[in-house]
C-alpha cells in the first residue's frame, strides 16, 4: 500500500512540474512571437526558470523515494 502511495505522490509531482513547465513554455512562445528579436534573452530566462522548477520536482521525487 505505501508503495502505491509513493507512486501516486511521484505522479502528482510530475503533474505539477509538467503544468509549470508548460506555462513557462507557453508564455515564452507568446513573447517570442511578439518580439522575435528578443528571442535570445527570452530563451535564457526560460531555461533558467525551467531549471529552478526541475530542481523542485527532483527534490520532491528524491525526498519521497
Amino acid at each position: 500500500m505505501e508503495g502505491t502511495l509513493n507512486l501516486i505522490g511521484a505522479g502528482l509531482v510530475v503533474i505539477g512540474a509538467g503544468v509549470g513547465l508548460g506555462k513557462i513554455g507557453g508564455s515564452a512562445m507568446d513573447a517570442i512571437a511578439r518580439q522575435p528579436e528578443a528571442a535570445g534573452k527570452i530563451q535564457t530566462a526560460m531555461i533558467i526558470i525551467a531549471a529552478l522548477l526541475e530542481g523542485l520536482a527532483f527534490a520532491a521525487l528524491l525526498l519521497g523515494k
Partner: protein
C-alpha cells in the same frame, strides 16, 4: 597556451600507455568471492534480478575506497587499483584499502579491526565480532574519522589539477598577446560569458571583480565534475550530498560575510512595516537566508543523482527484461538519448548554480535605494486619478 604542443601530445600518449597497466595493479588472484556467513554480507545470497540491479545501482551512486574499472563477479577478480585509507582513531592510521579485499575481509591495523559495510568503515571489537546491526539493519559500531582518498576525492583532485593547468596556462599566454591560442580559445568566451551575463548584471559593475574568482571556480568545477560523472569510470562526485553541501556552504558564507548593512537591516528590522510585524518577520527572514543555499544544494544533488539513476535503470532493462533481442536496441537507444540530455544538464546545473550564487551575492551587496524612496512617498500628496 604556454605548454608546447609536442610536450602535451607526448604526455598524453605516455599516459594512455601507462593507464591500462593500472587495471592490473591489484593482483588478479586477489580473492575468490566468499559466500557470506558473517552478518556483513547477508544480502549476497540468491536474489531476484531486480534486487541485484538495485544493489548495483546503489553501489554505483556511492563513493568507493578503491578505483575499480571493471570486475568479474563469477571469478571474483577486480581490475583496478586500491586507494589509501586514512583514518583518525586516537592516532593516524594509514593503510591501503586492498586490506579490505573489496569489503569481504576485516582489516587489522595496529591491533584495531576495521571492516567495510556499504563503503563505510566501521570499527570492530575483535577479528570475528561482526557488525552489530540494530533493528533497521544499520550497523551500530563506531566509525573512526575517515579522511581517506576515495574515488570522489581523487576525481576532485584531478579536476583541480586540470583547472589549474588550463587556466594558469591561459593567464600566462596573455603575456604574449591579447588573443589566446589553442585551448584558451575555448575558455576565454566562457569566462567572458560568466563575467558579462552572470556577474555584472547581478552584482553590479563596481563590485563584481572580487567575486569573479569564486564564480568562475564554482562554474568550471561543477561542470567538469558532472561531465566526469557521465564517463564509464563511475565517479559520482556531484551526486554526493556532502560535496553539494560544501559548495552551497561556500555560497552561504560568502553572501553573509560580504553583506552590507542594508541587507542585515532587511532581515532583522524590516523597514516600513509595523513593529509587531518586524518582530514576527525576524525568524522568517533568518530562515529565508538558509533556504536559498539549501535549494541550491538539493537542486544540484537531485538533478545529477536522478540522471545517473535513470541511465542505469534503462541499461538494467537489458538484464531484467525477458526478450533480449527486442529489449536491447530500445534500451540502448533510450540510454543514448537520455545521456545526451544529461550532458546538457551537466552544463545547465553548473550555470544555474553560478547564476543563483551571483544573484544571492548581488542581493547582499547591492546599495539600498528603497529606504530613501519610501520616506519621500509618504510626504507627497496622494495621486488622485
Amino acid at each position: 597556451m604556454v605548454l608546447p604542443g609536442k610536450l602535451v601530445k607526448n604526455t598524453i600518449t605516455a599516459l594512455m600507455a601507462v593507464i591500462p597497466s593500472l587495471f592490473f595493479a591489484n593482483p588478479a588472484t586477489d580473492t575468490t568471492h566468499v559466500q557470506a556467513e558473517t552478518a556483513v554480507h547477508t544480502e549476497h545470497g540468491p536474489e531476484s534480478k531486480k534486487e541485484k540491479v538495485d544493489e548495483y545501482i546503489q553501489h554505483h551512486l556511492l563513493d568507493a575506497h578503491s578505483f575499480t574499472f571493471f570486475s568479474d563477479e563469477a571469478e571474483g577478480k577486480h581490475y583496478g587499483f586500491s586507494l589509501p585509507v586514512i583514518l583518525w582513531d586516537n592516532g593516524l592510521k594509514v593503510f591501503s584499502s586492498s586490506k579490505f579485499h573489496h569489503g569481504e575481509e576485516v582489516a587489522e591495523v595496529d591491533g584495531n579491526y576495521y571492516t567495510l559495510h556499504h563503503e563505510k568503515i566501521y570499527k570492530l571489537d575483535s577479528a570475528n565480532a561482526g557488525l552489530k546491526l540494530n533493528e533497521h539493519g544499520h550497523p551500530e559500531n563506531i566509525r573512526p574519522l575517515d579522511f581517506s582518498i576515495t574515488k570522489s576525492v581523487l576525481a576532485m583532485l584531478f579536476t583541480a589539477l586540470l583547472m589549474f593547468i588550463l587556466f594558469v596556462g591561459l593567464a600566462r599566454s596573455y603575456k604574449k598577446g591579447p588573443i589566446p591560442t589553442g585551448a584558451g580559445r575555448l575558455l576565454e568566451p566562457l569566462i567572458l560569458f560568466i563575467r558579462d551575463e552572470v556577474a555584472i548584471p547581478n552584482i553590479g559593475e563596481t563590485k563584481y571583480r572580487k567575486y569573479m574568482g569564486f564564480l568562475l571556480t564554482v562554474f568550471f568545477f561543477i561542470w567538469i565534475l558532472n561531465i566526469l560523472g557521465m564517463t564509464p569510470l563511475a565517479v559520482n562526485v556531484t551526486g554526493n550530498i556532502s560535496v553539494t553541501v560544501c559548495l552551497a556552504l561556500f555560497t552561504y558564507i560568502i553572501t553573509q560575510l560580504s553583506a552590507n548593512s542594508g541587507y542585515w537591516k532587511h532581515i532583522f528590522w524590516m523597514p516600513d512595516v509595523p513593529v509587531l510585524m518586524k518582530i514576527a518577520l525576524i525568524p522568517i527572514e533568518i530562515l529565508g537566508t538558509l533556504t536559498k543555499p539549501f535549494a541550491l544544494l538539493v537542486r544540484l544533488y537531485a538533478n545529477i543523482t536522478a540522471g545517473h539513476v535513470v541511465i542505469m535503470s534503462l541499461l538494467a532493462m537489458i538484464f531484467v527484461g525477458r526478450n533480449l533481442a527486442a529489449d536491447m536496441p530500445i534500451s540502448i537507444g533510450l540510454t543514448l538519448f537520455i545521456s545526451v540530455i544529461e550532458l546538457l544538464v551537466a552544463f545547465l546545473q553548473a550555470f544555474i548554480f553560478t547564476m543563483l550564487s551571483s544573484l544571492f551575492i548581488g542581493m547582499a551587496v547591492q546599495d539600498h535605494h528603497h529606504a530613501d524612496d519610501h520616506d519621500h512617498h509618504t510626504e507627497e500628496e496622494p495621486i488622485i486619478l
